[in-house]
Every structure is written in C-alpha cells, then in structure tokens.
Amino acid sequence: MNRRNFLSFAGSAVALSVIPMNLIAEDYRKSKPSVWTAHNIDDATKALYNIKDAIHSDEVQIEVPNINSSGGAVPVKFGTTLDAKTIALFQDANPESAVAVYEVNIYDVKQYEAKIKMAVSGTIMVLVEGTDGKIYMNKAKTEVAAGGCEG
C-alpha cells in the first residue's frame, strides 16, 4: 500500500468511526437547552427544529380527553405512522412549553402514552420530524377543571 492510498484509507476510517457517535442517543436537555426554557410553542419549535410553521398532518395522531377533572394527570395518547427521527410533545398551559422529546429508533412502533400536568385549559401539540427533513404536527384542545401546577 502506497502512501496516498494509506492516507485516504485512514481518512475514511476516521470518518466511519465518527458517524456512530451521532447515532448514539442524544440528550436534548444538554444539546438544546433553549427548548426547555421557551415560554410558548412557537419559540420551542424554533429552538428545536429551527422552523416556525409545521405542516398539519393527519398521519400524526393525538388523543386527549375533552374535559379533565384534574390537571395533575392528563392522559395523552400520541403516535405517528410517518417515518420519523424525533417526536416532540408540547403544550401551552404551563410556564414552559416543552414536555418531552422522543428519539425514534429502528425498533420503535411510534405509539406512546403518558400522563402530563396542565396548569389551565390549553392545547397539546405533537411535532414529528420526518426522515425527509420536514416537520409535521397535529394538535388537540383539552379543558382542565383544576390546575395541576400549583403544588
């Protein structure tokens, strides 16, 4: 092996060893701290995906009850059938709007359920970052009789 070949081989080897680092699960609280301090959905979307308007899609599902007796635990069912990289859950009732960012892996069926807090009635929004680079969203409104953030 001559020197030129060796150098190009070594270069590609270094590049290959770097790629898997990006595939390792990312902690969005450390990599994008501004998402978690944003006070409304627009700012949080901009901080996370660097865009303002997402495309409304029926392939993103969200299911919440219309009226909740307590805002301490609002059950949210959400998911998507799109090919996704990340799925984010936002709401506009609490002081900060980000709730969670799910990172999709190859085993994921992309159907989730969780219980979240809502201080007042508001909108819950699911954003899906597709593998095509576009951002899709769907939202649902829910009413809360007693808020769950006062403690």
Partner: protein, 133 residues
C-alpha cells in the same frame, strides 16, 4: 416520603410487538411547586432522561421535562421479533414446582432514568410471553 424509584415495568408481547408500561415513584416537582414549598425554585427535581435497552440495542429514548405528572406512567411499544422472548410458566407448572430450562429465558429490558439531582434509577424486566411465538 416515598422513596424515588422505578416502581414497576410490565411487558406484554403480542404479534412480535412488545408493549411496555413503566411506573415511577417520583415527585416530579416543577420550579413553581418548589418555590411555594421550599422558597427556592432550584429545589425542583424531576426526571430528565429515560433510556430503555435490550442488550445493547436502544428501544426507547426520551428527554423529559417537569410537566409529566407526579409518579408518572409511560407506555411505549417496540418490535420484539429480533429479541429472544422467554416462555412464561403456566399456573399448573408453577403449582407443580416446575423450573424453566436455561434456553427458555428471554432477553432483559433495562430502563435507566436520570433526574435533575443526578440520581440514577435502573430496573430490568425479562421479555417473556406465555405462548410460544
């Protein structure tokens, strides 16, 4: 006060899809709640990251915030056809004191959670189904 921990993880497997339900025991205290309780909003404590792994493969990865409910519950689904699913013993076998062979044991799903104070919680559960796939 109850000790913070992962209380339970349950896994059901049907048609090569595993449905996992995790229950945490954690106050998930927001900044506002911490301020009214202790006067210092920096006392807020909530789970910030949850990872689920089967062997070396990641099946779940969430960055979370304080707005999950107190003692939160999470449900997620993943494809289990590439993992080894163990056989659960039937009630009759348990009554007869039967034990499983080593080959009938499944892979472990390990969930790791980190909270804002840096505490790490782990719990493992075996992937197992009563009927053979």
């Amino acid at each position: 006060m109850a000790k913070n921990k992962i209380t339970a993880i349950k896994v059901k497997i049907k048609n090569n899809v595993a449905t996992a339900k995790m229950v945490f025991s954690h106050p998930m205290m927001t900044y506002n709640q911490a301020k009214t309780k202790t006067g210092n909003s920096d006392d807020a404590n909530f789970i910030t990251h949850i990872t689920g792994k089967v062997g070396k493969e990641t099946v779940l990865d969430i960055s979370t915030s304080q707005f999950f409910s107190k003692n939160p519950i999470f449900k997620f689904k993943f494809k289990s056809d590439t993992f080894k699913v163990g056989r659960k013993l039937s009630g009759r076998e348990l009554d007869n004191g039967a034990t499983r062979k080593e080959s009938e044991k499944g892979d472990l799903l390990t969930v790791t959670a980190v909270d804002r104070k840096g505490n790490i919680y782990t719990k493992s559960v075996e992937l197992a189904a009563r009927k053979k796939r």
